[in-house]
Symmetry: C2
Subunit: 211 residues, 2 copies
């Protein structure tokens, strides 16, 4: 069982690390971080790099594909090397998954046409324009396609998929080991719950650079 986590310039670290730290604890699975070229790949803040240990050509048929999002995703929407690899990997994958705006890359590759899917709450309209049917859920499973909402939701997605593949008990053991008993100091993690002016500010910021 091989799990391929895609990296690209200016991805969001937690998008990739959430599924890695949960789903990656599937018994007997090998996780490989893959990118167009091997070597360090910088995150969106520029202050961190994760290593891509393999190039796309070295990982042609992973069992599970995980696509993170992040500000760099916009440029990747036109990266044919990445989109071609997604289509090739998806042709034989058991599960094709994304976190945050990673679903836009799956959609751009033509993999989410007419499928129920999700993305970062600020990107749901975009997802629709690319042919998917966005839902407001945090983790959406449609056939073998599993998409998660923004950034931190990859943890919930990873545990959900781990349960489906390895059973509830294994997923619970992983949840216990990573002590995932969330106690956020605020209840502002979704546009329905956050103060309205913060939601509007975030929407305005997105509008200012996405046309």
């Amino acid at each position: 069982m091989q799990i391929a986590v895609v990296l690209f310039d200016r991805f969001t670290a937690l998008d990739a690390v959430g599924p890695y730290e949960t789903l990656g604890r599937l018994p007997g699975a090998e996780t490989v971080f893959v990118a167009e070229r091997t070597g360090p790949v910088r995150t969106d803040t520029g202050h961190l790099a994760l290593t891509a240990d393999a190039a796309f050509a070295e990982v042609p048929s992973p069992d599970i594909v995980v696509v993170p999002g992040g500000p760099g995703q916009t440029a990747q929407m036109e990266n044919q090397a990445l989109l071609d690899w997604l289509r090739t990997a998806d042709a034989t994958s058991t599960w094709t998954t994304s976190v945050c705006t990673g679903s836009l890359l799956l959609a751009a590759a033509g993999l989410l046409d007419g499928r129920r899917a999700t993305s970062h709450w600020l990107a749901l309209d975009w997802l629709k324009r690319f042919g998917a049917e966005p839902t407001g859920e945090r983790v959406v499973v449609d056939g073998k396609y599993v998409t998660a909402a923004g950034v931190s939701s990859g943890i919930d997605m990873g545990l959900t998929l781990l349960g489906r593949i390895a059973g509830d008990e294994h997923a619970q053991a992983v949840q216990l080991m990573i002590e995932y008993d969330p106690q956020p100091p605020y209840d502002a993690g979704s546009p329905d719950k956050a103060p309205a002016h913060l939601v509007e500010k975030a929407r305005a910021e997105i509008r200012s650079f996405v046309k």
Copy 2:
């Protein structure tokens, strides 16, 4: 404002990435990943490396120190280069923090003597042996020392500290941006909540390799 996140061989990725993705979004702050030597540092699974962009000597006086944990922490308990750097950095830091068994490294450096602190639930006894006063809380603030429970708790710690430094509103905006509205598919994230046999199994596994 400089935030130093410590890396060492076989650390747990999410321990480091949780605070980075939250606290690291402090306005005007620079986050730097620091280790004994620069270059890629492998995580506990061996399947991922994060880049240390600076060596200890290059980051003598960060404002905030973040120490992750992970299986590799045991070997680091006797790494004088790391313990010396922790003591030096702590001498001028505004906040000294840890996630998971990172608190054992702070304790080994003599920084948690008599202080209320926490760690991964499987390591609380150890923490006591090193002079701290373990509590069952997920995030513990004692003076400038902020310790968090296992792995995923670094997200809660990061938001908590972000709120103290930059204000509730900024912390809420970050929570909204990383869509931290946790919906774990199980309620097994702490030893109080997980099925008892999974808790006992985890304790037995730890006993088998920690004397």
